[in-house]
Symmetry: C2
Subunit: 393 residues, 2 copies
Amino acid sequence: MTIKSFHPPQRTLMGPGPSDVSPRVLSAMARPTIGHLDPVFVTMMDEMKTLLKYAFKTDNELTMPVSAPGSAGMETCFVNLVEPGDKVIVCQNGVFGGRMKENVERCGGIAVMVQDDWGRAVDAQKLEDALKANKDAKIVAFVHAETSTGALSDAKTLVEIAHKYNCLTIVDAVTSLAGSKLLVDEWKIDAIYSGTQKCLSCTPGLSPVSFSANALEKIKNRKTKVQSWFMDLNLVMGYWGGATKRAYHHTAPINALYGLHESLVILQEEGIENSWARHQKNHLALRAGLEAMGLTFIVPENERLPQLNAISIPEGVDEAAVRNILLNDYQLEIGAGLGAMAGKVWRIGLMGHASNQRNILLCLNALDDALGRVKAPIKHGVAVAAANKAFAG
Amino acid sequence: MTIKSFHPPQRTLMGPGPSDVSPRVLSAMARPTIGHLDPVFVTMMDEMKTLLKYAFKTDNELTMPVSAPGSAGMETCFVNLVEPGDKVIVCQNGVFGGRMKENVERCGGIAVMVQDDWGRAVDAQKLEDALKANKDAKIVAFVHAETSTGALSDAKTLVEIAHKYNCLTIVDAVTSLAGSKLLVDEWKIDAIYSGTQKCLSCTPGLSPVSFSANALEKIKNRKTKVQSWFMDLNLVMGYWGGATKRAYHHTAPINALYGLHESLVILQEEGIENSWARHQKNHLALRAGLEAMGLTFIVPENERLPQLNAISIPEGVDEAAVRNILLNDYQLEIGAGLGAMAGKVWRIGLMGHASNQRNILLCLNALDDALGRVKAPIKHGVAVAAANKAFAG
């Protein structure tokens, strides 16, 4: 056995995440490792919290990155907020609502599912009906931006309804953070988690989370211990909390945090509102190109995520063959369908650093070529002009 | 608010971890991010498994890095192997045995604690007595290398005893992997976890684990679901398992895995037996220097970890002042005491890439200076010569 150093190819990442990472972020990750209790590192942690508060639009004191990927951020929210016997309304309109159900049940909670069509936003009326029928519900959980379908839900309204029935809210913002308008404080979200590998354009592996004072209150007054030691916020707060001396809980992923810090600095430089606007503008250009080719979106325009474009696979097309052409000949990754959407859609991400004109034109040209090679019934040679027109307009 | 890019200082890390990271590993982490289902990435994952099997000296098929730090690797072992009501014998001789107890209890298990002196190896006879008194015990858990004290336990013997009483074994090898002899298959360890930031000299954030066929058997036949979705090996195996097509579970921390891959390639180049020998040789040189100064170890030599040297703080010395001098004037980090050892010991790590002659001489000279400045009663100007003599011998 002799295994050599691994040298990955240079891809363009336009799938559902990870998205292309800025060279600035990659370079930050290669800076010298220092100790997780080093005073200089602690200063960096404080900056990180400030930057994350900016990204989430919140003043929540408990705003920090969980030292593991987005699914651990999700679990951090559920294990801390759900106690055995708690009834949780879970709105499901894609794969990740299903994962929420799993989380509720593994915490000993009772999940009441509100099913919506995949590819549509969560229906506020259905949520209200469920809350009327389940007056003892304690928590409402939903996905702001469904990565499996590209649907954006109206988080503000859903939280308002939940609060009307005295429920706390857990919101999945893995794909929305920095790509779609998200106002944690103004919308009064109680617990939220995201990922680093989507619109923050950092490498995967960390999960920014934020908890309101009400959420914290519930966590502090739990009757039972949080079932996860690693994710127990009562303990994690001793390290990430600001008031007193930082105490060792687990060893923080130092260099990954350097990367996240840098990606948040980049976001701050651009301005978060500008980032939202850029994602929308680029979506419109991609849309113009795709629609000119004759491809169709599965999500109605007003419920659509600009950063994740799910399009139907044309009749009779071998979807994997197309993705293979893109990957092998263009070094371009787009996403396959997930769960019930497998084989039915492609997911084209325009996330963070990857949401730019160059990538849109690359993707349209590559799709035009690949779809031609598999003899898909599309219009050729029109997509780029349509996209450019949208950019100009 | 304007926060700038973070540029950490260049420290020398001789604490309990993270240890100094090789520039090769840092450089690997900055390579282009690719997708977690990219065929090229999947090839890298296979290599990773082969390299980890080499490091653990095992053929266990389920050998992989958990996508989170060592404490999540610990929790992965406990949540998968402990079912509610299971009795677990936990041998505690430092901080991390206490964390194991927390894990058992949060899984609904019953922890039977076998207490040993901090700074000593786990006592095999005490374990056997506990097993005799608890015939219904299902699992024995202990720490191979106690990071809080620097004590090395006889894992082979402890596992033998556990198996005599039909218990599975969970072994903490966070600090031992690649630094001390560790033979997972030969010693018949059932479940083991480690960290990347100790003797592998990678950045923190991942936890290599390995599970025997017997452990897997128990996991597959659980009566209850694993309480953690993120750590459920039945699900994680779908991504890291080799037999069938890789399925999405969570998004792997791509660039962190590049770093671990590179650190394991470096280990393979050196040869693991050579790595163990280097740690021992360098420990002897450091020991010679420290003892020449009049400093004393808290662990008896035959129970001592070469990679983590816990020494008593001389009477009347302000231990934090000494560490501050080392950090500020020498850019050198050594560790404070943890838990019951706080204020009583320093912990000097000689782990992985950081275990070298240059660091030993740097540390001895720096300690000589710093201890002089705080007027500690030690012998000056003798440590380096003693260490060099040990190197030469």
